[in-house]
């Protein structure tokens, strides 16, 4: 018989405040990072609870936490979903753009790279604030935390858009200095990057982005270090980035306007988790052989109330699955309910 599921992904509750505070304190700097102060975190949790209860608010924001059942349910990760980028206001990005300037008489053809301030991603659904305890970063918990959100979106599509985006922190050093900000934003704000981040979380990002130049930024005019930093990922974010790359996200088109980090984008139906998603029935407990046809699956119930997700070893094609009592209890399911599942890849997934 297989072990009990180790990880559980579920909506954040007020009882998670202390655990979230600890994760926020340890989290990397970045525009999408969790607020480190307790009151702001409490507000996030309450907003998330409202969002689960009523998904129609333009600023709906769902906050999830990852429990390690082998550590008595200790919080080891958190991640979120914002239903609409910009939350009713504009959502700014830089789009990479390439234009050819040519002079036949000079035999010159130059492909000029510009950054174009745009609202392209306004209104898309955003995967936000992925933070995981480093001890769990390489394992299946990270998969559940990241892809579980896609399972949630695919299960409740009326609350989200077809277009999913995800911002990832750009390069910055230990002190929070960010080469992209220093070369671009700072020319317009005379603020260092941490100060700009504080402003953005207070006044709103659109307010700040509104002050950026409306004409394209000519990349050849930036110093080489900054050119190199465009779209580069902060090393701390490699794990969540690579999971989404594997899902099928594109990372080449948009940049974060503040730190120049890559903003990924995809259409939900093209993503691995959405394509593999299927619905299976819950059968009474019975032995599940772990033979060749089995694989690790994301699995969650289909009801929004008490939504829970975990990883299960399941037959990759069977229309129904026998859940052990502990598994059914963990997911809040009974025999006859149905279950959304999506297979992870073998070696990477487990």
């Amino acid at each position: 018989m297989a072990d009990a599921p180790r990880y559980l992904l579920r909506p954040a509750a007020l009882a998670d405040l202390t655990g979230l505070e600890r994760l926020a304190g340890a989290s990397a700097i970045g525009i999408s990072s969790l607020p480190a102060d307790r009151e702001a975190l409490r507000e996030r949790i309450i907003r998330s609870q409202h969002s689960f209860a009523d998904g129609d608010e333009p600023d709906a924001h769902y906050l999830f936490v990852l429990e390690d059942r082998q550590q008595a349910g200790a919080l080891v990760g958190t991640a979120g979903i914002a239903a609409r980028a910009g939350a009713g206001d504009r959502f700014y990005s830089y789009r990479n753009e390439f234009t050819v300037h040519a002079s036949p008489a000079l035999g010159a053809r130059n492909r000029i790279h510009t950054l174009h301030l745009c609202h392209d991603l306004t209104g898309a659904t955003v995967l936000t604030g992925f933070h995981i305890d480093p001890a769990h970063e390489a394992g299946p918990g990270a998969q559940l935390l990241s892809r579980g959100r896609l399972l949630f979106i695919a299960s409740f599509p009326e609350r989200f858009t077809d277009r999913i985006v995800s911002e990832h922190p750009g390069l910055a050093d230990e002190s929070g200095a960010c080469p992209f900000w220093d070369a671009v934003g700072r020319r317009f704000f005379h603020l260092d990057y941490p100060a700009a981040e504080r402003l953005a979380s207070g006044q709103g990002r659109a307010f700040l982005a509104e002050l950026l130049p409306q004409s394209p930024i000519y990349v050849p005019l930036l110093d080489e270090a900054t050119q190199w930093a465009l779209g580069q990922l902060h090393p701390v974010a490699e794990r969540p980035f690579s999971i989404l790359l594997d899902e099928g996200f594109d990372a080449d088109t948009w940049l974060n306007v503040f730190d120049g980090g890559p903003t990924m984008e995809a259409r939900l139906p093209m993503l691995k988790t959405a394509r593999r998603l299927r619905s299976v029935g819950v059968l009474p407990p019975a032995p599940r052989a772990t033979r060749g046809g089995h694989a690790t699956h994301l699995a969650a119930g289909r009801r929004l109330q008490h939504w829970r997700a975990t990883l299960l070893e399941l037959d990759a094609t069977a229309p129904a699955v026998a859940l052990r009592d502990d598994e059914a209890a963990l997911l809040g399911l009974s025999v006859g309910d149905s279950l959304c599942v999506a297979a992870l890849d073998g070696p990477d997934g487990v």
């Binding site: 234009t99 300037h101 040519a102 002079s103 008489a105 000079l106 010159a108 130059n110 000029i112 510009t114 020319r187 317009f188 704000f189 005379h190 402003l199 006044q203 307010f207 002050l211 130049p213 409306q214 004409s215 394209p216 930024i217 000519y218 050849p220 005019l221 930036l222």
Partner: protein
Amino acid sequence: MRWTVRPVQAADVPVLSAWLPASADTTLPEPGTAAAWLLAEGADGACGPSACLRVRGPIGLRRPRHWYHVGCVVHAAPELQLFHRQHTLLLGNDHTGASELAAGAHHPALDAAAQALAWRALLMAAREHLQATRALQGGMVIAELPGLRDDQGRSPFWQGLGRHFHAGDPDAVLQRLGGDGRAQLAALMPRQVVYASFLSPAAQAAMAQAAPSARLWMDTLADAGFRYSHHIDIVDGGPVFETHLDSWCARR
């Protein structure tokens, strides 16, 4: 010292070519057209040809001419006590149709006092020519002044802007292709508004700065009522001065 001004003749060209930059136009304008090429020499044969100035009729009408317009944009957020003024550059053809005073040059031995008088005499003669051919001329008259160069003859403005869009030597292009060279370089430059703050400090400082060698000519223009038009040359960032032809002619 007194100067007389007369049109350049074929026999003068070898003398003048020695002072002029290699890329300068040395063709004689056809008589009766809007164009003229004027030469100052000492009155009563006191000294030979000493300075020259070209007048061009409406410019940019056959081959486009390009300049950067230097504009200003304010980013303000009272909530942040943020008020930030920035210069912007926008490539365009704003002076199309203006008449032009171009390619002034003088004998290398001419001293400053004599130069100032020669420029003044040439400018008066140019105004007479423009008045005499008023129907053929534009409403504005412009004069481009050469921009700043460093010890090696490089333009800090080009180093800070143009070089990032064309790796070659712009002076070689101008020498090889003449006026068309400037249009070819323009085709490689940014087409949208550029914020000057993205340029190197040296390039920003060089915007609209005339070369010291052009100072006397610039002062002469300013005395005659010409003013910086908020346009600069696309290669060296030299300022374009302008005046309204009719106002200029009305000045005593």
